[in-house]
Amino acid sequence: MIHAEELTRRFGDRTAVDALTLDAREGEILGLLGPNGAGKTTTVRMLACLLAPTSGRASVAGHDIREAAPQVRGSVGILTESPGFYKRLTLERNLRFFAELYGVPAPREAVQRYLKRLGLWERRAEAVATLSKGLRQRLALARALVHEPKVLFLDEPTSGLDPESARDVRQFIGELASERRTVLLCTHNLAEAEELCARIAVLRTRLLALDRPDELKRRMSGSRVAIGLRNPRSEFATALGLPFVRTAELVHDGLSVEVADPERDVPALVRRLVELGAEIRSVARDERTLEDVYLELVGGDDGAA
């Protein structure tokens, strides 16, 4: 549904997005996670045919973004970073305007359907100026959906919302995937990405990783084992003498040991510790949070962000 290859965008001599290659399948919510300035908005703008890429290619909903921009625009919905409305016009009128521009066959009915779905029907005749930020964001979701796009771009849909509105919006996004829509969700909120996204692309100008949230965690943390000891002593760490142990250090009530392959190595490690006189209370895989993984990925080398 979304297919990008080596997509690059430069502004003058600053590179905003560098050779981004990614795929989103039909019905998938793909997270685009990265700090401010990572190039998320620029990526979305390129994929929605608002900005031309400097190089690279992409197709969205089956249309090439360079060759078939009007078709791409017609088949994607976008929730922009700061979605504005004609604040003097009513909710209903705002939505109808966009529905008509997208050539929706029965605009009034479509508008009604989405105003109801997002709980805004009662307020349809009010000017948008009267809406709270949370409700405005819901209206923006309605606008992104009113022409039934197959592909949706949501650029930081919950940023700046109060927790309750943010939860509503997240819940709604969750429902979208079950409608076979493909969603590219930009966010710098890890919990949100982990909760909603089938896969997460970590972006910081370049693509740093692209995988399922649990895979990302496993791959990054994988080989660490936490051993709880009743008698923690530093010689346990230094005297292990096992070939597969990469690092071992004493933490406050035990050891943190990095091994080559936990599946294979943990039994031998435990046996060795018992030989050394350790009284083991617990053995656990050292699961890291997505946040640790993310910070390690993004907190990288050049400090460009």
């Binding site: 922009t80 008509e100 050539g103």
Partner: protein
Amino acid sequence: MGRLRVLVAKEWEELRKIKMVLYGALFLPLLMGGLAGFMVWQGQGLPPEAQAALFNTALMYFLILPVMIPVTLAVYSIVGEKEQGTLEPLLATPLTDWEIFVGKALVAVLPAIGLTWAVFGLFLAAAHIILDGIPPGVLTLPWLLSIFVLSPLLAVFGVLVSMLISSRTSDPRAAYQFSGLAVVPTLIPLIVYSVQLTAVNFLLVILEGGILVLLDGLFLYLAVKLFRREEILTRWK
């Protein structure tokens, strides 16, 4: 419904909701029309040549109107989108760059021409009653050309200038003020006319028409270049 019609309908509804823009666009034609009528009213009982001179001066108001009326409309239709943050959602729709530009221009040009002609019609009717008929030698071909050819060209000129300026600033007041400069070209023939009073000759009208066509063409070229998605998104302030 065509996308262009959809855009123009929205613009129009929005403009009607803004009292300042609406009254601003109506105030000027009424004021100018009133002034022109007053001038003719002063000619009651004067000899026909004096009446004709007054009448000619009055007619000049109808060259300022088409430039002045659309300024507020054009400025708002651009600055309003910027202020409200609606440009990006608008650009994400299948509207073409050209449709956006033409829609925004039309919503200012059409009322300007319509109002100018409407007030002009009212003025003629009033003059007819006040003076018991239009003085001879007034509504000559050059004058009619001025009203029916120069006015639309002037309206287009006013709109293009306003749109170019509005794309460069998000402060409506600054945009209104600078766009007011669009009236300058109309002052030149105005000065010529008022120095020579009845000498509204064919040559002058053709000359000004030619200059306006050139200026309109130049500004149209610039405006179309400015009204490209990428440009709007990355360069407009």
